[in-house]
Structures are given as structure tokens and as C-alpha cells.
Amino acid sequence: MAAIGVHFGYTCACVAIFKDGRADVVANDAGDRVTPAVVAYRDTEQIVGIAAKQGRVRNAANTVVKVKQVLGRSFDDPETQAHKAQTKCQVVNKEEKPYYEITAGEHPEYVAPEDAAKLIFHKMKETAQSALGSDVTEAVITVPFEFAHAQKRALREAAEAAGFHVLRLIHEPAAALLAYNIGQDCSSGRSHVLVYKLGGTSLSVTVLQVSGGIFRVLNTHTDHSIGGESFTQALAQYLATEFKRTFKHDVSSNARAMLKLMNGADMAKHSLSSLGSANCFVDSLHDGIDFECNVSRARFELLCSSLFNKNIQPIRPLLEKAGLSTSNINKVVLCGGSARIPRLQQMIREMFPDVELLSSAPPDEVIAVGAALEAGLLVGRDGLVPEEESVTVDVSTTDILVKEVDESGAEVFTVLLPSGTPLPARRHHTLSGEGKHSSLRLEIYQRNVMEQPEQLAKIILRDLQPSEKNHDIDTVVTMKRDGSVHVSCVEQNSGRPEVITIAAAS
């Protein structure tokens, strides 16, 4: 069965479909795999996508951008006020809710942010259905981790108004993990993953713990003041000064010229992610003068170096707060369009020198792909309750260890059951002891984070037949939901068992 995954971002939206066991991003009718989340209102029609974005030069007052910022928020919300100050489209207060005032027709119309979002969702649905060729409405939609309940509800309602049947809302970092199949191939063990998402207008860094294939967000940081647009802005400022230097005209006060320059800078920025230098060309920028300028990648990196630093800075405090260091991170996932910037990737690599940096998939599509994979899991499943976005499960609090010695005779601890494992859980290990012994001792310990391990129990296996080969001991550790542990050991040759149960502290 086919299903749809939608990533609805601040600046762009992306849709992927799950079909025949694969999730693929679908290109829209303009041939782009990512659709700008911009809605332009004209007197007869509403335009969504690249056409609306480019038409913004002429129709800024009736073009809604970054609608996600106000979705489900009240008018007095500081975010709404910030959005109001920023956007060129008039925002008015109606019953404590923000509304856009659209003056395209004869009378001013008031458009709720939900309606604008609905149009974008509708576009995404059309795109997906054109690729599928059938009426598939089952969808999973991603939301940022910091979204409040009201915002999630508004987003869900907008999607449902557009004709989607929303299977579930999932968090963007979790979707990114799904797309890279992290923790989904192997259930045992525990790892930490950092999801670095740099979108058009926001930076969000999230650190997750993956144990038993289940994701748990340990800490997250979101900054709405920085994103891809900041880089474009910096580049446009530079281009404006260049223009002033060459032609002695100041364009920074000319709003339309600045918009044109932004569009040009945006294009140049994209090219610079793959090319060493890019040409920026704007027709009749000011007073009919055409503007042409060559920007090298080095120049761009110089212009944005402070911004890059600002982008990287939040990572370390975030990890510290979660009680981790950079060496604890097993994988880093890059997503969001701006994560393509080579310099940024390089900086992250420097921070995590021996960690796998996952950026093989196009970073702006990763989240949509993850959503589509989740949709593929959920579709066709009946009795699907409208699950809350986060669910609580019982997890173990301590590592369960066994004490062993290595070749040199030093004591080492081997983790049998890591902390944070969803319960109930069972782990199977094969331990070995030297063949010359006729008896073996298993010492079971528990360890809370970095404290000294505390001995829980010891298991003695006697009357083993000494042989040349090592004794192999099958050990099964089972932990119940309350945290009590059951350990059973069997020596493979003799079949001699030994079982203990350790109760949980109440």
C-alpha cells in the first residue's frame, strides 16, 4: 500500500511517497523536489510554490511566507509579533488570532494561517497523487520538536482540511533518523545520535538516544534567528555594497531591488555549495542598470564565518547538558537545505573527528523520506489510535554488567544490558571461560552513569569438565518492566544450568 510523508518546513515543503517498500521524494509540477512554502494571493487565484516566491518582487503585500511561524499561535505571542514585524504581508488581530489581510481583490480579505497552510498541503497532496496516479490520502506529517500542542493541532487540522488522512505527526529529528535507518536494523545496543538541522530560518540541534530501536530525545536546542536566509542576507548585503562601489547607487533602501538581489544571492549561494565560484546577475537592478558580480566560495565563507560560528556554538553546551561529550556521539545526521554548505560540514566534522557524518541523502529531503517510511509502517494498520506525539515507556536506569578479565589479567566490565533499554527486554550473550577451570564465577554488577559499579550478584558454575577448548556459557539476561533482573546461565557442553533472580528496589 502506498502512503505519503510530508515535511512542512518554515521556508520549504517536501513530499515523499512510500510505495513498494521504497520511499522516494516526488518532484512537483515545476520539476523541483522541494516546493517553497509560499502562498501568493491574486484576485482570481492562489499560487503556491516557486511562482509565488518569484512573484513576491511585485506582490509582496499579498504573499504569505513562513506561515508555519504563526500557525496555531495567538496574536499576542512574541513569535507572532516577530513574524508580523518581519513579513511584508499585513497581519491583523481577530479574536486574539493572527490573520493575514489580503488586498488582491476589491475588498480586503482575511486569511487565517491555517488556510494558507491548507493550500500548501493541498499542493503537496496533488504532487504526491500525480506521482502515484491514485487517490492516496494516508500521510505522516513532521513537526518540529518544540511545537506546542495547539500548533500541532493547527497543523493537523490544516492537513486534514487539505484532504489528508493524518496517520500520525512525528518529530522532525526522529524522521531524519528513520530515513537513515538508524537503530532499525539492529535492536540491541545503545547509541547516541546528533541531528543537526539547519533550515531556511531556523537552526535546531537535537541529541537522541537510540536503544532497542526506540528513539528518545535527550535534549534539543532551537534558534529561530539563524538559518539559510541569514547567509543569503549577508551575501545580498555584500552584493549591495559592491553595486554601490561600482555604480555609486545605494539600493539598500529600494525594497524591490533588495528582493531581486536576495533572489540572485540565493541562487549564487546554492551554486557555491557545489562550485568554487558563482556568478550573480541581476537585470536592471536600479535605474535600469544591470548588475553582475562574481563571488567565490572563499569570499562567501568569509562573509558568513561569524554566522557559521554561531551555528556551531550551540552543540557543545547542548551535549554537556545531556551529560555527554562529543566522543559519546555515534552518528551525526545533517538535514535542512543549508546543511549542504561545505564549510559547515567541515566544521561539524572537525567537532566530531571520528564519527560517521550522515549526509548522503539530500539534506532537505531526508525528513520527508523518514516521514514516508513511517507512513509506510502505519498504513493499513487498523485500530490506529490518534497517538500522542510522545509516549512514555519503562526503561532500565542502570547498565547491567559482568566482570571479566582481559588477556593481561586486568578487570574489565562487559555490558549485558545497557541503561535506557525499553522494558521488558531480554538479551542473550555467550560468555566464555578458560577450559582448564572446573568452575567459573559470573559477577553481575550494575552501574549508574559514571559511578563505580555496584555488585548485584555472583553465579557459580561448578563441576565443569576441563578441556582444551574454552567453556562457552549461554547467558540470558531478562529484565521485567519493574526493573527486576533474571539471569540464567547454561554451560554448553555439560548443559549445567544456574539461575538467579534479582528483585528491583521499590
Binding site: 526522529a174 509516549v391 532500565s396 557459580i460 519493574d482 534479582i502
Partner: protein, 618 residues
């Protein structure tokens, strides 16, 4: 590497583990779904057994399951294995087709442990060598039952299954007692799980409907494979083998059909006997009856209502008319009366004027003057209105002779002036009429109106039929009459006059005509342009679902259509379907439309040719 234990050590538990805590997790991914499923069912705790969850739940049942030893087992003849009951051999008589693979395996295991020749040998039993030992029967049984295909075949011909279908008379009396067991028995052949139950007398209509639609569309997995095995291996020839296969296939199909018929008969019988169906039908009938009645009632009421309204309307109209007539009559009488009164008054006044004038001796001294004055006074009497006569009389009655004379003369002058004016106006009007006549006579010869279109047409016709054409002006007149939109008939003479007139016209007038023509053209064409902006924007179409392909016909398609029209003459049944099939990308509707267009075109062409031929004859 584990350490060696010291002698004095014992297995011991020192302390307790830390309690678990609850944390929030992301509800995504395969493992999360598996976890939730497990938690909701509170079953197996292991990850390894996740996939076999269903089987593990069966395992729990296994604990209760027992084997029933087959008492005849030891006496079985392995050569006759085809006729043995495999379930009985494995001790699963009580489960039969319900036995799961696991149960079968377990049963086999336990029975092998007991009856394996080696075991028995160890127990000191006598063993028949080779394949003749009854253990072969056990092997065969597990061979059949562990293979899903073979097992199905065996199940299908299970000798213990009761194929009987209860008769109608049996079912009529105690429907539920008889049929519940029959349907439950036959449900095992269903390919689908969850076979609906027959239910009770209280079942809802939906349930009963669901039940019968399920059974009427019954999809049985029962098949008759074992029957084809007979004698096969004795045949060597390829053809013979094929023949046997064919026979087998036919008999299998036959058996399958019989089976279908059996089920069908069963369901038919049940449907016929079902008291609930009867009840539903009656209810439905009653409902329809009442609906019909209600509808008829409503219709009748409506009609009556209408009739009444119509009557009332007619009555009102009649009353109104009568009233109007009455009023008009009265008004006419009133007017007549008034007129008479006025006439009388005017007569009286005139008389008065005459007498007064006579009394004053017509304000004249001599006879001639008085005669003239008399004439004038008579004229006054004729011309003046009632009111002015009255005022004049008053002046005459009150004033002296001179005053009266002056007043009368003044009146006379006024009347004379008015007469003069009237006469002048008449003359002017006559003159104007004459000049207008002249003007129209100058502009259009023959007095017949020529409008812009006709003039254009005439010019065109004159150019079309140049001098030297046979009976040129008749042809032109004919042409004009044919094409003119004004509907006026013109003869050759009219046309000649007009044409000459036009030739004579100064170039200015010609220019005007041309300009008018251009304006008209412009008006026609500009009126189209603004509609483009208001037009509905074109929609994107899905390839399917649109009716009719409106795109223009290409030459290939045209050729194909003509070819098809020839291939399928008019008498062909479903001619247009075939034609449409011959022209790819065009529907039946399209083809028919195109054909009509073509016929129209051909007709028009012929008509034009005939016209030309007729003309040349003239």
C-alpha cells in the same frame, strides 16, 4: 574471559537492582511499533520471538492438547496407506483439520518416540524388516500432513465429513437447529477466515444479508487432487499420459463443480427456508406499500390544492374585469354628459356674443364694415374656446362701446394671427415632406432602402460578376436576394439604378462606406478580445475520465476513419463501436461527430456546385 570460582563461593544475590523509570520516547519506527504491539498484548518478552508471535500464542494452547492413541495402529498395513486416516495414525482424531502444523509436528514427535523400530527393538519387540513395518504408516501420515498441499488434498476428501444438505421440509420446521450445524460444518472450506454465523431469529437485517452474501460468494479451497493419481504410473506412452491427465482434469473440474453446486443448493435451501428472510421481505413489502400510499396521497392532495388555486384565480380575474367594465361605462357616461353641458354653454355664449355684437351694431358705422365685422364675429364664435368666449362676453356686457370694440378687435386679430400661423405651418410641413421625398429619391434609386450591409454586398456582387457576364444584373440581383440579411427583394432594375448611383457618387461617400465597413469589422473583432481575460483558465486534465477527445483530427486519423467507414457499411451491427476501435485515440462519440461534420461539408460543396451550374445555364 570469566574467572575461576573459589571453592567456598556460592551463587548469591547481594542487593536489588535500581527500579525502572518512565521516559518519553518518539513514536516512530519498526521497533517502536513492535514494542507497542507487545505491550498491548502483554505477550512474549523476547525480541527474537517477535516474528513468531502468533505461533508462540499457539504454543500456549499446546499445553492442553493431548494425543489420543489409535488402537488399530499396530495392525495397519503399510501397503494400504492410501486408505488410512492420517489424523488417526498421529492421534489427532479429535482435532482433524483444526490441528496446527506445530501440533502435527509435536504429535509426530511423540508417536515416533514411542513407535520407532529402534525403540521397540530396545524394548525387545519383534520387528518386521523393511517397509512392511507399520511405522511406515506413520512416516506416510506425517509426509501427507506436513505438506500443506497434500494435507489440503487429504482434508478435502476427509471421509468423516458429512456432505449432506438438509432438505427443504427439514429446514422449514426448525430452521436454526438444522442449519446452524450444517453451516458451521461447511465453514471449514472457506478460504477466508471469520465466516459469519447463521445467527438467531433476532439477527439484524445487515447480519443476515452479510451472511447470505458471504455464502453466495463462497470461495472454497476444497479440491480433489488425490483422485488424479490412479494408474498414472503404469502408462508409458506420452499420448496416453496426456489423455489420462486430461481425464483427471475434467473429473476434477466436475467434482469441483459438484461441490459448488452442493454449497449453492445448501445456501438456496437455507435462504428459502429462512424465516427471517420471509420476515424481512414482508416488512419491506409493507414499507413499500405504505410509502406508495403516502406518495399517492401526497400527489392527490397536491392536485386538489392546485385546482382550488386555479379556481380562485379565475374568480378574481372575472371580478376584476367586471369592475373595470363598470367603471369605464360610468366614465363614458360622465364624459358624454359633460360634453353636452359644454356644448350647450358654448352655444349659449356664442348666441350671447352675437346678440351683444348686434346690439352694438357690430361697432360699425357703415354697412360694409358691419358685414365684415359680422364675418369676423362668426369666425370668433367658431374659433374661440368656452372660457375666452365667456371672458369676452363679460367685457362686452360690462364695458362701453369703445372698450367692447377694442376687445373684440383684439380677439379677432389674435384669431387671424393664429390662423395665419397654422397655415404657414401647414405649408412648411408640406415643403419638408416634399424635400424629404426628393432626398430619399436622390439617395436610393427605386425608393427601396439600402443599408450598409446591402451596399457592401452589392459592391461585392458587382466585382464578382464582371461586365460581360450572361444576364449580369439578374445574376447580381439573384445573388443579393440570396445573401442579403435585410430580406428585401430586389429586381435587376433596382440593382442597376443603385449601382449607377454608387458609381456616380463622389469619392467622399465611397470613403465613408469603406470606413463604416472597417469600423464594423473592428467592432466585431474587438468584442472578442476582452473575453479572453475573463475566460475560465484551462484546467489540467487527467488522462482518463474526459469524455471525447476534442483535439483536431489529424490526416492519419481522418484516413483511418474513412477506411473504417468503408470497411463497416451501414448495415454492420454496432458499426460505430467498430469504427471507433479502428481509429485509435478516438471514442465512438468523436467518430460520429466527425462523420456528421464531413456529411455537412460534402452537402455544402454539392449545393454550391449546383448553383453555379444553374447560373451558367441561364
Amino acid at each position: 574471559m570469566l574467572l575461576e570460582a573459589r571453592d567456598d563461593e556460592e551463587t548469591v544475590v547481594f542487593t536489588t537492582t535500581a527500579a525502572s523509570v518512565q521516559v518519553q520516547v518518539e513514536p516512530v519506527g519498526r521497533w517502536y511499533e513492535a514494542y507497542v504491539k507487545r505491550r498491548n498484548r502483554s505477550t512474549s518478552t523476547s525480541f527474537q520471538e517477535l516474528e513468531e508471535e502468533e505461533e508462540s500464542s499457539e504454543e500456549e494452547e499446546d499445553e492442553e492438547f493431548q494425543l489420543e492413541e489409535y488402537p488399530m495402529l499396530r495392525t495397519l498395513d503399510p501397503k494400504d496407506w492410501k486408505n488410512q486416516d492420517h489424523y488417526a495414525v498421529l492421534g489427532l482424531v479429535h482435532l482433524r483439520y483444526k490441528a496446527t502444523q506445530k501440533q502435527i509436528k509435536a504429535a509426530h514427535k511423540s508417536i515416533v518416540l514411542k513407535h520407532h523400530p529402534d525403540k521397540r527393538k530396545a524394548a525387545g519387540e519383534q520387528i518386521v524388516e523393511g517397509d512392511n513395518d507399520y511405522f511406515t504408516c506413520i512416516t506416510k501420515a506425517i509426509e501427507i500432513l506436513s505438506d500443506p498441499v497434500k494435507r489440503r488434498a487429504f482434508d478435502s476428501v476427509d471421509p468423516t465429513f458429512d456432505n449432506a444438505v438438509p432438505s427443504k421440509s427439514e429446514g422449514k420446521e426448525n430452521f436454526f437447529e438444522v442449519f446452524t450445524s450444517v453451516f458451521d460444518r461447511n465453514a471449514r472450506w472457506s478460504s477466508k477466515k471469520h465466516v459469519p454465523k447463521l445467527g438467531t431469529m433476532e439477527s439484524t437485517f445487515e447480519d443476515v444479508d452479510n451472511f447470505y452474501s458471504f455464502w453466495y460468494n463462497f470461495d472454497s479451497w476444497r479440491e480433489f487432487l488425490t483422485w488424479m493419481k490412479r494408474k498414472k504410473r503404469r502408462l508409458n506412452g506420452k499420448h496416453e499420459r496426456r489423455w489420462i491427465e486430461k481425464q483427471n482434469r475434467a473429473s476434477r473440474a466436475q467434482r469441483k463443480k459438484e461441490e459448488m453446486n452442493r454449497i449453492r443448493t445448501l445456501v438456496d435451501t437455507a435462504y428459502g427456508c429462512d424465516p427471517r428472510i420471509k420476515k424481512f421481505k414482508e416488512e419491506e413489502k409493507a414499507r413499500k406499500e405504505s410509502e406508495k400510499k403516502a406518495k399517492a396521497d401526497a400527489k392527490k392532495r397536491e392536485q386538489e390544492e392546485k385546482e382550488r388555486a386555479r379556481q380562485a384565480e379565475l374568480e378574481a380575474a372575472r371580478l376584476l374585469k367586471e369592475k373595470e367594465e363598470e367603471e369605464a361605462k360610468q366614465a363614458a357616461q360622465q364624459a358624454k354628459k359633460e360634453k353636452e353641458i359644454q356644448k350647450k354653454a358654448i352655444k349659449k355664449e356664442r348666441q350671447k356674443l352675437r346678440t351683444t355684437c348686434k346690439n352694438w351694431n357690430y361697432f360699425a358705422d357703415n354697412e360694409a364694415d358691419s358685414v365684415k365685422m359680422m364675418e369676423e364675429v362668426e369666425k370668433l364664435c367658431d374659433r374661440l374656446e368656452l372660457i375666452s368666449l365667456q371672458s369676452l362676453n363679460e367685457i362686452l356686457a360690462s364695458g362701453s362701446k369703445d372698450d367692447s370694440k377694442a376687445a373684440v378687435e383684439k380677439q379677432v386679430q389674435e384669431v387671424n394671427a393664429q390662423l395665419q400661423r397654422e397655415r404657414e405651418a401647414e405649408v412648411q410641413a408640406r415643403q419638408a415632406a416634399r424635400s424629404a421625398e426628393q432626398a430619399s429619391g436622390g439617395g436610393g434609386g427605386g425608393g427601396k432602402g439600402w443599408n450598409e450591409d446591402d451596399l457592401q454586398l452589392l459592391i461585392k456582387a458587382v466585382n464578382l460578376f464582371p461586365a460581360g457576364t450572361n444576364a449580369r444584373w439578374e445574376v447580381i440581383a439573384n445573388y443579393m436576394n440570396l445573401h442579403s440579411t435585410s430580406g428585401m427583394k430586389r429586381n435587376a432594375k433596382d440593382v442597376i439604378n443603385k449601382a449607377k448611383n454608387l458609381q456616380r457618387l463622389d469619392p467622399l461617400q465611397k470613403d465613408e462606406i469603406n470606413r463604416k465597413a472597417f469600423e464594423k469589422f473592428k467592432k466585431e473583432h474587438t468584442s472578442v478580445a476582452p473575453t479572453v481575460d475573463n475566460a475560465v483558465p484551462s484546467e489540467r486534465f487527467d488522462a482518463s475520465g474526459t469524455d471525447g477527445n476534442t483535439a483536431a483530427w489529424t490526416t492519419e486519423e481522418q484516413k483511418l476513419l474513412e477506411q473504417a467507414l468503408k470497411t463497416y457499411p451501414v448495415s454492420t451491427p454496432e458499426r460505430w463501436e467498430k469504427i471507433a476501435a479502428a481509429v485509435p485515440g478516438r471514442s465512438k462519440k468523436d467518430c460520429m461527430k466527425r462523420y456528421k461534420e464531413l456529411v455537412e461539408m460534402v452537402k455544402a460543396k454539392k449545393a454550391a456546385q449546383e448553383q453555379v451550374a444553374a447560373k451558367s445555364k441561364k
